[in-house]
């Protein structure tokens, strides 16, 4: 691939401890514009923790992460500004409507227009539900609402932790289409998932193994 150029986002020899024991060590990755990284591994192997390390939320016990060759720890706020992190819990207030919730989480990141938010809702097939309070939405619909934030406010890196949980087939298709568009425009995606998510080639794989924590990297 783009062998000559330096990677955009790189992690080297990352180790992470949690609750006194080591989750993984020696984990590394290198991502160029448009890359997707698929995190796999059994429950408890540290996929969520690795995503939190990538987001700068959790400090690794060893190793470093670079964005364009600069350590992300030098400016964590700037790093936070260039990423979307979709975790298990979505952060939606039950009493706000879907539109208010999306507008809020987008405006916290950037001065986003209402139009753009409505478009993002439409992409995830939530437009007709926009004035319903979040508590009236099903869990799959709440998941779609969280994913719509990816489209409403732009960011270079998408860190997705089990994004497909609770999604139906059309929701999954919307997610896959969004990821494909994001990658075509040069964005990075890191996905931890047990549900198969269809990704365009090439996909980089990173397998976290509870025993060794060692990682074979391969393009497929």
């Amino acid at each position: 691939m783009t062998a000559g150029e330096a990677p955009l986002f790189r992690g080297e020899d990352i180790a992470c401890r949690r609750g006194g024991h080591e989750l993984f060590h020696g984990v590394g990755f290198a991502l160029w514009p448009g890359d997707a990284l698929l995190l796999t591994g059994p429950n408890g192997s540290g996929k969520t923790s690795l995503l939190q390390v990538m987001a700068g939320l959790r400090t690794p016990s060893a190793g470093r992460l670079d964005w364009q060759g600069r350590d992300i720890r030098d400016d964590l706020a700037a790093h936070a500004g260039r990423l979307h992190h979709i975790g298990h819990r979505t952060g939606s207030r039950a009493i706000l409507t879907a539109r208010e919730d999306l507008l809020f989480w987008s405006r916290v990141r950037a001065p986003v227009s209402r139009q753009r938010c409505l478009l993002a809702l439409a992409r995830f097939d939530l437009l007709h539900l926009r004035d319903l309070p979040v508590q009236a939405l099903s869990s799959g619909q709440q998941r779609r609402l969280a994913l719509a934030r990816l489209l409403a406010a732009p960011a270079d890196i998408w860190l997705l932790d089990e994004p497909a949980v609770g999604l139906d087939l059309s929701g999954l298709a919307s997610l896959e289409a969004a990821v494909a568009r994001h990658r075509r425009s040069g964005g990075l995606v890191v996905i931890a998932t047990h549900t198969p998510v269809e990704l365009d080639n090439p996909v980089r794989g990173l397998e976290l193994d509870r025993a060794s924590g060692q990682v074979p990297e391969h393009g497929s």
Binding site: A55, L57, H88, R89, G91
Partner: protein, 215 residues
């Protein structure tokens, strides 16, 4: 700055849709003040009115602190706020402003009415209101720190009160002193100084506590 105002707007919206929270604070404020009135009896009530109102306001404000960060902690929003481009100190400040508007201001509005009921001396009302206008934001700032420190703990509400009530004793002392016109402007100036101090320190300390609580 869009983000800062978006947070204030969202908190106000949530606060106004949970009107029962605001009315619970006010009802508690009125009830505590009334209990004092019955307990003390009519003869000495007027002298005590300033202190009673301040104590009742402090206790009532404690009730509203758990809605500052607990909902975001529970639904995962706190992580997203930490990962937002808005500095966490400003996030805290936005939440404190919204909290003051939905808890401090209603208390401020109800205070003169309760003052009437408690036979607050006539010249004391301006001092009481100025003092409370400066004192209630201090409560919100210190309360945010307490609420952030106990996030994730069991019985967080009681813990917050135990942490914060000792810290607000100076506010109480100068607030009550401000209700006596004989004391002049000095207590009000002290309250203003405390507000500036809290404004300068609390958001940073609160942000540090919040960062600790999410992992």
């Amino acid at each position: 700055m869009t983000g800062f105002f978006a947070i204030i707007l969202r908190e106000l919206r949530t606060g106004l849709r949970h009107l029962s929270d605001i009315s619970a604070v006010l009802a508690f404020f009125a009830l505590v003040a009334t209990l004092f009135a019955f307990g003390v009896g009519p003869r000495t009530l007027g002298d005590l009115a300033g202190g009673v109102l301040w104590t009742a306001a402090l206790l009532a404000a404690m009730l509203s602190l758990d809605r500052l960060f607990q909902p975001d902690h529970d639904d995962g929003g706190l992580v997203l706020l930490i990962l937002s481009p808005v500095p966490l100190e400003l996030v805290v400040l936005a939440k404190v402003i919204a909290h003051w508007l939905t808890a401090g201001v209603p208390i401020l509005v109800l205070a003169p009415l309760l003052g009437l009921a408690l036979q607050l001396p006539e010249g004391s009302l301006p001092g009481l209101l100025t003092g409370m206008a400066l004192g209630t934001p201090i409560l919100s700032l210190l309360g945010a720190l307490g609420a952030a420190l106990v996030l994730g703990a069991r019985r967080a509400g009681v813990l917050t009160a135990l942490l914060i009530l000792p810290l607000v004793i100076p506010v109480l002392i100068f607030g009550v002193a401000a209700t006596d016109p004989a004391n002049g402007a000095a207590p009000v100036l002290f309250l203003a100084a405390m507000l500036l101090g809290a404004l300068a320190l609390c958001p940073w300390a609160t942000a540090a506590a919040l960062r600790q609580s999410v992992l």
